[in-house]
Point group: C2
Chain length 232, copies 2
DNA sequence: CAGTGTGAATCGGTTCACAGCA
DNA sequence: TGCTGTGAACCGATTCACACTG
């Protein structure tokens, strides 16, 4: 195992009182892949498979098997040498480590066509999330319904957050207005934001913003397709 | 400049005939950031700014200034020491390097609520893309209109590709069916795919797949928010 | 002298290859 | 014997710090 962290952990466990052990640090690149592993495991569960190997699970996740084993080793030791991994217990371990035992409540800000599509998405629950509120600023959108929820005015962000307890926001506003929207979201106390707006958002450092930009993704694909033509 | 590449490039340019010079290799991590730089530059253009610095541009892009200068150095030398960068010509250089001088034609496969939202998105042209076709397999979706285009049957992928010449696909089908859909897309000759389906797709190695998964992004945010609570 | 461009140092992540264990 | 878990080697990416130049 690790060299210096092991000592701390052993100490913590030795001193009987401690309930929640301080977890060993997990590299960011590993965290980014854990969801793929979970998805692959869910596929196996759905297929009725109870035991798997690093090779099979890696293939289903789209990574190399050494990568997968190394990643899992940061979380602990879950497999049986010479045998493989138990699908159910590995699923539980990763779920727990990602912090998905309890559902996280999510709101969507910006109910244009993308926001509506996100509101209608039925897959939140199976991934550990619950959609609890929708916001917009346009008078003709506030009060309408999407995904079974009534759209509230963004002015009421803080109040609605109080009532519903969401801790994450999907930001689906157009680029102009996105910065103002995220400012309100942050002011309301949210510290996890997934932005679909094609601009870099300025936020205080304690706020975690991840960004998805279809245009950027296409441009990256364009670059690679061009590179492919030059050296086939 | 570079040590060994410089020689090749100088040679190529010296031998008058050569029109398209073989470009120096650009690190993948750099390519991933070029779209952000382009977005930031467009913001500056919109604001009427004609000259910028690595510090300003980096801030607008959400990266460090050393990172930005290093990234640009892989593409060539664009700035003026002691002065900064010309917004217009830097925009042109990056646009050209990404291969965005000519518009890339794009199709969407899977016209559910997400596919519709993507079809209604008005930002393709400004990023270098043109939406030319929509596909689905459901009888009650084929023939309907979205974003000014009529939805065609996925059986006609190859034929419609012939006619419209799209080279990229946005895959917006539900998870079951995504693999079959991408198989058809690949069979039709498309080699660049942006997938929104929450599964790892199996494709031949000459096909470039990028994946966007909202569920995974939320799970990663969940992990970090939990880590934040433990060490604030 | 301000700000780019870039070697050199550093850091983190991936891959390899095998020791260790059921 | 088969497959996990993991040190060690490798590789790429980031950061630093400064020489260079308009």
């Amino acid at each position: 195992m690790e060299s210096n962290e092991t000592v701390d952990r052993a100490d913590a466990e030795a001193s009987a009182e401690v309930v929640d052990v301080v977890p060993a640090p997990v590299p960011a690149a590993t965290v980014d892949r854990l969801p793929s592993y979970l998805r692959a495991l869910h596929q196996l569960v759905a297929a009725g498979v109870e035991r798997t190997s690093s090779v099979e699970l890696a293939e289903l996740s789209g990574v190399g098997s050494a990568q997968l084993r190394k990643d899992l080793s940061f979380l602990g030791s879950f497999g049986t040498r010479g045998v493989g991994y138990d699908v159910g217990s590995l699923t539980d371990s990763i779920t727990r480590r990602l912090g998905l035992e309890t559902e996280h409540k999510v709101a969507i800000v910006g109910i244009g066509s993308l926001g509506q599509a996100l509101a209608n998405y039925r897959g939140y629950a199976s991934r550990g999330f619950q959609l609890v509120a929708l916001f917009d600023t346009a008078a003709d959108v506030v009060g309408t319904t999407a995904g079974g929820l009534v759209v509230e005015h963004a002015d009421d962000l803080a109040a609605v957050r109080e009532r519903t307890g969401f801790t994450m926001v999907l930001l689906a506003t157009p680029a102009p207005g996105a910065q103002e929207a995220v400012d309100r979201v942050v002011a309301a106390g949210v510290r996890s934001v997934l932005s679909f707006a094609p601009i870099a958002l300025q936020v205080p450092e304690e706020v975690d913003v991840r960004a998805v930009d279809v245009g950027s993704e296409l441009q990256i694909l364009a670059f690679h397709s061009q590179a492919r033509e030059l050296r086939p």
